[in-house]
Structure formats: C-alpha cells, structure tokens
Amino acid sequence: MTGVRLVVALRAHRSAAGLTQADLADAVGVSRKTINTIENGIFVPSTILALRLARHLGVSVHELFALLD
C-alpha cells in the first residue's frame, strides 16, 4: 500500500453538521480521541465505523474518505 495516501474529509463534514468531536463520538459509540485521530489521519477506521460515521453525517463513505494515488 505504499504510495497511497488517505484523504480524510471528516472534520469538514462534522463541522458542516454543527457537531463537536465529542458529539460525533457519542453518536457513533467511540471515544472523542478516536474521532480526533481519524480526522488527523493518524488512525484509519474500520469499514463498519466508516459506514457509521457516514450514516450519521448523511454523506457517503467516499465523501469522508478518498485515496490519493
């Protein structure tokens, strides 16, 4: 997987929804730190968590995460 970069737009969509990291974390059942590290590209979430985040924010997973080749 070298040479592939994950672009995360979670912060933008969360802010647009008017949610804090703690709000979103509470809604999807994870810790605030996990939302923080996902937004900063430190932690890559599982497919299930990515789908939960997308569903809660009313967007597709592709709008939250994209691969930059």
């Binding site: 059942g29 994870v30 810790s31 605030r32 730190k33 979430p45």
Partner: protein
C-alpha cells in the same frame, strides 16, 4: 483529559500498578534482605482494586465502556499485550543467559521477571495514551 469513567479508571489503574511495582522493585534493590514483606500484598491490593473498580465501571456505565473499548483503544490494548509478551520473552532470555553463565541466582531471576510481566503491558498502554493513540 478524558471524562469517560472507564477510561479514567483504566488510566489511573495502570499508572498505580506501574508505580507500586516500580516502588517495590526500588525498595527491593535498596534494602536487599530487609525489604518490607507487605509489598506483594500492596501490589495485589492495587491490582485487585483496579480490577474491581473496572468491573463496577463497566456495569455502571455501559455506554462509556463501549466507547472506552472502541477500535482504536482495542488496537492500543492489543499492542500493549504484544509488547508485554515480547518484553517478558526478552527479559527471560537475558536472565536465562545470566543464570547459565552463573552470574545470577535462578531465584533472583524468577523474582526479577515478575515485575516485567506485571507492568510491561500497562507501561505500553500508558505510552499510547501519552502519544494520543488511546484514552
């Protein structure tokens, strides 16, 4: 800092375990034969107290427990257990070599490996928290 009660108990429980085992080791090295015999009881009390508090918090705050064991924290926890395993293996092999070479008494080697077994996973988890990779 986290306000999740399960996270807080895990953080302070791990820290307390590291502190009390380190203090016991320091006392054992300083006092040799005159070491206080209550150390094992104190370590056991801290460990059991941490376990009891943790069980209580998981039952009392199920939603907080779910967040405390989310996938990032689970990854950090698994990494801490793996680190503990390899730390014990490394120390065991080192002490085994010292025993074979006649530089260490087997009983002392057995005594020395216990604290590594006890606190290596906790130390690694605390390091993950400090690095912002767990809560």
């Amino acid at each position: 800092m986290t306000r999740n009660p399960v996270n807080l108990i895990r953080l302070f429980g791990n820290a307390a375990l590291v502190l009390v085992v380190s203090a016991a080791m320091a006392a054992a090295l300083l006092h040799r034969q005159d070491v206080w015999t209550g150390w094992p009881w104190l370590i056991g009390a801290v460990a059991l107290g941490y376990a009891a508090l943790s069980v209580w918090a998981h039952l009392r705050y199920p939603r907080a427990a779910e967040a405390a064991w989310d996938e990032q924290n689970a990854v950090a926890h698994q990494a801490s257990l793996a680190f503990g395993y390899w730390a014990v293996m490394a120390v065991f092999l080192g002490l085994f070599g010292l025993v074979l070479a006649g530089l260490t008494d087997p009983a002392a080697a057995f005594f020395l490996i216990a604290p590594v077994l006890a606190i290596a996973p906790s130390l690694h988890f605390l390091w993950s928290v400090l690095r912002g990779r767990a809560e």
